[in-house]
Amino acid sequence: MAVNRGTGTGVEQDGAEPIELLACGRDAAQVWDHAARSELDEHERGCPHCAAAGADARTLDRLVHRMAAEPLAPPPSVMDQVMGAVLAELRPPDLLSLASPYGPARLSRPAAAAVLRHVVDRVGGMQARSCRIAPLAEAGGTGPTAVLVAMTVTAQFGVDLASVSARVRQLLVAAGEQALGIPVCRVDIDIVDVFDDTTPRGNRS
């Protein structure tokens, strides 16, 4: 920048912050204004300090116009964050209580259901469809609230339904405690359909 702040040639204006003048004694702001209007006087056209200030003004002007012409491109994650916040705002809060000695702690019920569906999807022979988690009434009122898990699944054609269901039940109870920190006291599994393992997953109804 051509504005010289080290010369000590500041001028007080009505008690405001002193204006730093160029080495030639001109006010850089006025030189910028003249350069923007292409109205440089004789001194400003010949003075190297004013010429440098004018060049700064033109460079800044080009930069500003170039940036103003660029389309705004927010980071890709911003839209996801905003949409997530909008959806969260629209949905009523659906939360499960977590046991904590430090104060209220809660877990989103849809998030907990997604975890349990994910666990079941990783079991061979079963695919989760829906998952409903309902808190049961606390027995003593002090411990964590146990929950009932009701899940609908589809089974691979030919698997032993009883043994796979038992395995899924065990996994859900374990996942409730280990992944969520919520005791699962009851698991209901509805096997609503069968699928052929050779059918691509996206084509299953």
Binding site: L72, P74, P75, V78, Q81, V82, G84, A85, V86, A88, E89, L95, L98, A99, S100, P101, Y102, G103, P104, A105, R106, L107, S108, A111, A112, A114, V115, H118, P144, Q178, A179, L180, G181, I182
Partner: protein, 141 residues
């Protein structure tokens, strides 16, 4: 003879409490991030586009109130699958409560809501620990 130093009183505002809480919560292992509400998300969106407030600590996902010597902090966090949600919530409550109390002197109650559990990618910190545990130390063959 020197005059006695004047007593100093300071009041802590809720924005400060929120920023301290957000800073500490993000450092608790298992916290993938904070989930801002709609107003905070829109403000963050505007700030990122306009390039403002780059030197301020973020406070999205945290709501704080201060009343006298007590503060209430509500955090909404996101975690990865593999961290026990109950244990994580307790850890966040403990760590954030201690951090805010240590910094401000306020008595703090921390409320934690886990809004989401990320299933796709595992915790990068955990993944790095697993990889370093599996790879032999330098010089060992």
């Amino acid at each position: 003879m020197s005059s006695p130093e004047p007593a100093v009183r300071f009041l802590v505002g809720p924005v400060l409490v929120a920023r301290v809480a957000a800073q500490r919560a993000c450092r608790v292992p298992g916290v993938a991030g904070l989930r801002p509400d709609l107003a905070q998300a829109l403000l963050g969106f505007a700030g990122s586009v306009l390039g403002q407030d780059r030197d301020r600590l973020p406070s999205g996902g945290v709501a704080a109130t201060v009343d006298g010597g007590r503060a209430q902090v509500a955090l909404t966090i996101v975690t990865w699958l593999g961290h026990n949600c109950r244990d994580l919530a307790q850890a966040v409550q403990r760590e954030v409560g201690e951090a805010v109390t240590d910094y401000t002197g306020l008595e703090v109650q921390v409320q934690v809501t886990i809004a989401d559990v990320l299933l796709g990618d595992r915790d990068p910190q955990e993944r790095d620990r697993m990889q370093s545990a599996q790879s032999p130390p330098p010089g060992v063959r």
